[in-house]
C-alpha cells in the first residue's frame, strides 16, 4: 500500500501538468482539428519532461536544493529575476485558469452557475494550501485524477480502426483544412504545455517537502517514468476520442462540456460521472500545484523559508504570496475573463521561462561537488542537451507563430 502511495507525487504532477484545464481543452481542439497528426509532439514533450523532472528530482534528493534556488545560484540575481517574472506569469495564469476550470467542472455537475462557484473554489484551494498535509493532497487528487482513464476506455469502446489511427500518428502531415503556421503554432503550444516549468518547481520542491534523500531516487524515478507517460496517454486518448466524435460532426470545441461529449457518446451516463470526477480532481490538483509553485519559486529566489512541512507562521512570506495569488485569481475570474483563453497567453512567458529553468538544472546535475556519485550519466546528458536545443527553437518560434496565426485561430 505504501509503495502504491509513493507513486502519487508523480501521478499528481503528471496529471496536473498534462491534463489541466488548458490541456483538456487544447487536446480536444487539436483532436477535432488535426486528428492525431500532432501526437508526435505529445510524445516528444513526455520524454522531455521525464528527462528534466528526473534530473530536478535527483538534484533535490541529493543536494537538498529545489529548482528555483539553483536558478538563482547559477544565473545570478538579474537573469534569475527575468526567469522569475516569466515563470511566475506562466504559473499564475495557469493558477487562474485552474480555479476557473474547477468552477466549470462543478457547473457541469451541478447546473449551478460557475460564477457562484469561483469564490467557493478559491477558498477551498486556499484551505488545502494552508492546512492540508502534502501527501494527503497528492494522494487524493492523484488517485482521483486517474478517473480520466475513462477517455482511454471510451476510445476502446468507440471501436475505431486502430491501424489507421496508428498510421495517422506515425506519418504526421498538416491536414488540408489547416495552414502550416497554425499546425506549427499548436505544435509549439503543446510542447510548451508538456514542458511547463511549474512541473519541475512542484516536483523538486515536493521532494523536499517529503524529505527525500539519495535512497529515494528509485521511487522518484518510478514516479517520473510512470506518471508522465500516463499523463501523455490520457492526453492522446482525449485527442483521439475528440477526433472520432467531434471531428466528423464539425463541432468547434469551446467548452469543457464538449470535451466530455465523446465519453458520453461512448459510455453514457456512467462515463460522464467518471469524466466529471476526473475533471474536478485534475483541475483541483493542478490548482494546488500551481498555487504552491508560485509560492515556491518566489520564496526560493529570495531565500525565504517555504513549505508545508513547517507551520505557516514560520513561513509567513510564503503563505502571504499564495494568499495574494489566490485573491488575485478569484478577482480576475470574476471580471468574466475566460479561464481557457487565459492560458493561451502563457505561451509567450514560457518562451522566456523554459530555457532559463532547464539550463541550470542540467548544469547542476553535472556538478560532482553537489551530486557525487549521482551525477548525470551519458544518456541524461545527451537527452538533456538535445532538449535544450529543441526548447530554444520552440522559444524563438513561439511569439512569431502566435502573432502570425492570431493564437491558432
Amino acid at each position: 500500500m505504501k509503495k502504491m502511495f509513493a507513486l502519487a507525487l508523480g501521478i499528481l504532477t503528471a496529471i496536473g501538468g498534462f491534463v489541466d484545464i488548458g490541456d483538456l481543452v487544447t487536446n480536444a481542439v487539436v483532436g477535432s482539428r488535426f486528428g492525431l497528426s500532432l501526437a508526435w509532439v505529445v510524445v516528444l514533450g513526455v520524454v522531455g519532461i521525464c528527462v528534466f523532472a528526473e534530473m530536478s528530482g535527483r538534484v533535490a534528493a541529493v543536494s537538498g536544493r529545489a529548482t528555483f534556488s539553483l536558478v538563482r545560484q547559477r544565473l545570478g540575481p538579474r537573469l534569475g529575476f527575468v526567469n522569475l517574472c516569466g515563470s511566475v506569469a506562466v504559473t499564475a495564469l495557469t493558477y487562474i485558469a485552474e480555479i476557473g476550470g474547477v468552477a466549470l467542472a462543478l457547473e457541469l455537475a451541478s447546473s449551478i452557475n460557475a460564477y457562484l462557484w469561483i469564490p467557493v473554489v478559491g477558498l477551498l484551494v486556499w484551505i488545502v494550501l494552508w492546512r492540508v498535509k502534502f501527501d494527503i493532497m497528492e494522494n487524493v487528487f492523484g488517485l482521483a485524477g486517474l478517473a480520466l482513464v475513462v477517455f482511454g476506455v471510451s476510445l476502446w469502446a468507440l471501436k475505431p480502426d486502430f491501424a489507421s489511427l496508428a498510421t495517422q500518428a506515425l506519418h504526421p502531415s498538416v491536414p488540408a483544412t489547416e495552414g502550416t503556421p497554425t499546425y506549427l503554432y499548436y505544435a509549439v503550444a503543446l510542447f510548451g504545455a508538456a514542458m511547463t516549468p511549474y512541473e519541475v518547481f512542484f516536483f523538486s520542491s515536493g521532494g523536499i517537502e517529503e524529505k527525500w534523500t539519495a535512497k529515494d531516487i528509485p521511487v522518484m524515478r518510478s514516479n517520473v517514468f510512470v506518471g508522465f507517460p500516463l499523463g501523455g496517454l490520457i492526453s492522446l486518448a482525449i485527442a483521439a476520442t475528440s477526433m472520432l466524435v467531434l471531428g466528423s460532426s464539425g463541432i468547434d470545441v469551446e467548452s469543457l462540456g464538449q470535451v466530455a461529449l465523446p465519453v458520453v457518446v461512448a459510455l453514457g451516463k456512467v462515463g460522464l460521472i467518471f469524466a466529471l470526477v476526473g475533471f474536478f480532481a485534475a483541475t483541483f490538483g493542478a490548482a494546488c500545484e500551481t498555487g504552491l509553485s508560485v509560492g515556491y519559486s518566489i520564496s526560493q529566489y529570495f531565500g525565504w523559508q517555504w513549505g508545508k512541512f513547517v507551520a505557516p507562521r514560520r513561513a509567513a512570506r510564503f503563505h502571504v504570496v499564495m494568499l495574494i495569488a489566490t485573491i488575485m485569481a478569484v478577482g480576475v475570474l470574476l471580471t468574466t475573463a475566460d479561464p481557457i483563453k487565459v492560458t493561451e497567453y502563457s505561451v509567450v512567458f514560457s518562451a522566456v521561462a523554459l530555457p532559463l529553468t532547464y539550463l541550470p538544472i542540467l548544469v547542476v546535475a553535472n556538478d560532482t561537488r553537489y551530486m557525487g556519485a549521482h551525477v548525470n550519466g551519458r544518456l541524461a546528458n545527451v537527452l538533456g542537451s538535445f532538449y535544450l536545443v529543441v526548447i530554444l527553437i520552440a522559444s524563438l518560434a513561439a511569439i512569431p507563430l502566435m502573432v502570425l496565426t492570431k493564437a491558432g485561430q
Partner: protein, 132 residues
C-alpha cells in the same frame, strides 16, 4: 557537519546561495559579502549581507538604485544598514550556507516578522504544520 572548505571561490560557492539555520530552516540569500581590510592589508570576509539594502547596490543601474531608495524609505533609521550576519556564526558551506544559530536570533527578518504578526497569525491554524 560539513565545515568550511579550506579554499572557496566566493561567487561560485557563496554568492546567491541559500542560508540555513541551526534547525535546518531557511534564513535568506547571500546577496553580498562584507570585506574588511586588516592592518596588514588582508581582506577578511566579516559578514553575509542580505535583503534589498544589499541586493539594490549590487544590481546597479536605475532598477538597483530604485530598490535601494524604496528600502531606505521603508526603514525608520536615518542611515540604514543592510541585513547582516556575522561570518563567525557560519559553520558549513555546501549547497547552502549553514549557521550555528537560529533565524529568530538574527535581526534580519523585518518582512517575515511583519507578515507573520499582521497577517498570518491572525488566520486560524497558523501555529501548526499542515495536517489531515
Amino acid at each position: 557537519m560539513t565545515g568550511i572548505p579550506r579554499t572557496l571561490e566566493a561567487k561560485l560557492q557563496l554568492l546567491d546561495h541559500q542560508v540555513i539555520d541551526v534547525h535546518g530552516e531557511m534564513v535568506c540569500m547571500v546577496d553580498d559579502l562584507e570585506l574588511r581590510p586588516d592592518r596588514r592589508g588582508h581582506l577578511h570576509v566579516t559578514a553575509i549581507l542580505t535583503g534589498p539594502g544589499a541586493l539594490g547596490p549590487r544590481w546597479g543601474g536605475r532598477f538597483g538604485s530604485w530598490i535601494t531608495a524604496v528600502w531606505r524609505r521603508l526603514r525608520e533609521d536615518a542611515d540604514p544598514v543592510p541585513g547582516r550576519i556575522a561570518w563567525n556564526v557560519v559553520t558549513g558551506v555546501d549547497s547552502g550556507i549553514r549557521l550555528n544559530c537560529a533565524r529568530a536570533d538574527l535581526a534580519i527578518e523585518g518582512l517575515e516578522t511583519w507578515t507573520a504578526a499582521h497577517i498570518v497569525t491572525r488566520i486560524p491554524g497558523a501555529g501548526h504544520e499542515s495536517d489531515a
